[in-house]
């Protein structure tokens, strides 16, 4: 009989971190990179954040959020995965966030700020699968991450009607087929208990 397992590490973040990366060719450079966070639990409370870089945004990193303190905290995680999103001098544009689900095969996030409207769309969704990054891993170091990944065979990123060029391409996680663009739902980030006193608050 299987037993239940309580993870010994401390929960720091619960939410979602959906990734949208478009390229012109397999294993090419990203023409557009978006890291979308919907956070239910964090040391800085709940909220949303979009870190984006694309030609349709003048090639600059843009950050949109409804919780500035959350953005600065998330940058400690972005530093490990996408360092170009971790510059604490990058200004934060206040925005509102809406999830749209029109079909079972499509998923959309809409980000509305005073001067622009952004659409992130993941389409032709594949079968969801669970991953766990154990502590001391090559991706996020000492953090442990549980996540439900849903690969998208196609994706699009638009800013004020302009569409970013490039496509989603097949990718792999630990030998499992996924995509450069995927949903990451039901995500939990944990940090070792023994380091609580110096943890990333």
């Amino acid at each position: 009989m299987s037993l239940s397992l309580v993870d010994p590490n401390r929960v720091y973040l619960v939410g979602e971190n959906c990734i949208l990366r478009l390229q012109h060719e397999q294993d090419g450079v990203d023409e557009a990179t978006c890291s979308f966070w919907r956070v239910l639990v964090s040391p800085q409370g709940p909220g949303h954040a979009l870190f984006a870089r694309a030609e349709i945004l003048s090639g600059e990193v843009r950050i949109y959020s409804d919780n500035g303190a959350l953005v600065r905290w998330l940058q400690t995680l972005e530093l490990l995965m996408r360092p170009y999103f971790a510059d604490k001098a990058t200004p934060i544009t206040q925005a509102q966030f809406h999830r749209k689900r029109e079909t079972a095969q499509s998923y959309c996030e809409v980000v509305i700020s005073e001067h622009s409207t952004l659409h992130l769309e993941w389409d032709d969704l594949g079968a969801p699968f669970m991953t766990r990054l154990e502590p001391n891993n090559e991706f996020v170091g000492i953090w442990s991450v549980y996540s439900c990944l849903v690969p998208a065979r196609s994706a699009r990123f638009e800013a004020d009607g302009l569409r970013a060029t490039g496509w989603a391409f097949p990718d792999s996680v630990a030998g499992h087929l996924t995509s450069t663009s995927f949903l990451a739902l039901g995500e939990t980030w944990l940090y070792p208990d023994r380091q609580q006193q110096s943890g990333p608050n």
């Binding site: 009989m1 299987s2 037993l3 239940s4 397992l5 309580v6 993870d7 590490n9 929960v11 619960v14 939410g15 239910l40 639990v41 409370g45 709940p46 689900r101 079972a104 079968a127 969801p128 699968f129 669970m130 991953t131 766990r132 990054l133 154990e134 502590p135 001391n136 891993n137 090559e138 991706f139 549980y146 439900c148 849903v150 996680v173 630990a174 030998g175 499992h176 739902l185 039901g186 995500e187 939990t188 944990l190």
Partner: protein, 193 residues
Amino acid sequence: MAKSVINPNKVHFTGQNPFLRLKQVSEGPDTTTCAFWRAHLSPVGPGHALFVRSDVTDGEVVLLSDNDDLARWLQQIEAILRPPFGDKNLLVRKASFSNSGDARNIYGEHIESAGGTLELTWGDLYGSFLISLEPGNELVGDWGVSSCMIPARWATLSVNGRKANGKVFSEPMAGQNCTTSALAFAENWYRAK
């Protein structure tokens, strides 16, 4: 160097399943039992469902949802966890759902239906922990589940302003300090392929 581990099972559900149970005395029966579901992914799409039985529903099981198919699909899990909620003869009443608050302190779910308004509130939240259960366990059989639990020291249910009797009691979960009412976020249900 540690690795990324792929769970070999098939994911059927991703979402939330907070529960709210109130009792008059520690070892007594539930006077209120609520199972709230928010589905981001399921075989029958996204949506919400609330199963509730309480003194403020006059002991009747009430099932509210914005996705009938989801409510029926969830009943296979409720039949294991809380059998009275698994009765397929239950009427699914149409409702709309919204949430508010901050899981660091107070969190609420608000449900509107033709029958009125229900408010579920979890307060004095503390001590989150992540629990996972592999398929082939004594609690949910061939299902596996992982969930981030956030226990509440107090919780309330009100129906059209009428507040349910009873209170939250301590109830350990897998050796962790927990209570009879907790948020359950980032919850994933999976089974062997």
